[in-house]
Symmetry: C2
Subunit: 194 residues, 2 copies
């Protein structure tokens, strides 16, 4: 059978996640109540607490979705380059920067994420999505001799933090050429490591 149960289940989960994502993105986790979320999704609090463990758990799912989309953009950009690891690295970084510049992404993934889930759990989500690709890219660069041998993990933290902060700045600034200026500096910073 088609499974009316799981179909219904998935429909309410999708509605809750989508509406919660839209509300969290525009007004932030703290300023959005469950009543508003369930009203927008067309269900009740009973449905929400049946599908999720609570407000924070719903946010966790939203964050995972956002992070996965960003990671997909990074992978797509990297794969669009040939098999030049340096080009893949820079293209992936630029894709991350552009994707995270979306205010909705920045708000959920970079501002509320660490505060709601705690930094450690937030870091685990990042490590499972975009962060992993950054570590892998740096690893292959070292393995191929493009980068001098060095500990990859700390460098990934530094570069990731730099890109996160840059994305947050780009998300709120209104200078039209800000992205290119930041990207220029970031690229120079990465080139200097070569």
């Amino acid at each position: 059978m088609a499974g009316v149960r799981i179909e219904q289940r998935e429909r309410t989960r999708r509605a809750l996640v989508e509406q919660a994502r839209a509300l969290f993105a525009t007004r932030g986790y703290g300023d959005v109540g469950l009543a508003e979320i369930v009203r927008a999704a067309g269900v009740t609090k009973g449905a929400l607490y049946h599908q999720f463990e609570g407000k924070a758990d719903l946010f966790r799912v939203v964050l995972a979705e956002v992070a996965a989309e960003v990671a997909d953009a990074v992978v797509a950009a990297a794969e669009a380059q040939g098999d030049d690891p340096w080009a893949q690295f820079t293209a992936g970084s630029r894709a991350f920067l552009e994707a995270s510049t979306d205010p909705a992404v920045a708000r959920i993934a970079l501002v509320d994420g660490p505060a709601v889930l705690g930094w450690t759990e937030w870091r685990a989500v990042d490590e499972a999505t975009s962060g992993r690709h950054l570590v892998e890219a740096l690893g292959t660069l070292v393995a191929r001799g493009v980068l001098a041998p060095r500990p990859v993990a700390p460098l990934a933290h530094l570069l990731g933090g730099a890109m996160n902060e840059a994305a947050l700045w780009l998300a709120v600034t209104d200078e039209p050429d800000a992205l290119e200026r930041v990207w220029g500096e970031l690229l120079a910073m990465m080139e200097a490591l070569r």
Copy 2:
């Protein structure tokens, strides 16, 4: 006429800020209620709302205090060097990293700060404290020809973000030599800009 009024005023403000800071540092802004804060400070909610505009305003004062202390540590470390601008730059950066590695500082200044006040206002606090010194240090490095002429603002964002992320990692990790490893990578990153 010592001013019993302003003395009393300052005493309750100090008590509230100190207790709030301790509680926010250990359990985070969201998990600490006003009732607990005023109980620890030995006053009531009436006193809190007489001295502050609300919970977020109290947090704002706590954050300003923490940020000022970090900035003081940065300035002290930089001034301990002679008038070598590069030594001042690196010493200040290292002092920032060490100060922000304190879990209490990291939690308040780096995790909850942006979420509670919003990223823009949080950035303004940083810009008024540690961030300002970073921009100034980079400015003099460019002016003295130590660094090639380049836009300072984006670079400050990138370096500041890198150090923030590094501090957060150091605040939760238990590797004993993590600080030296991260510092080594950060120093290499900064040296590469020379």
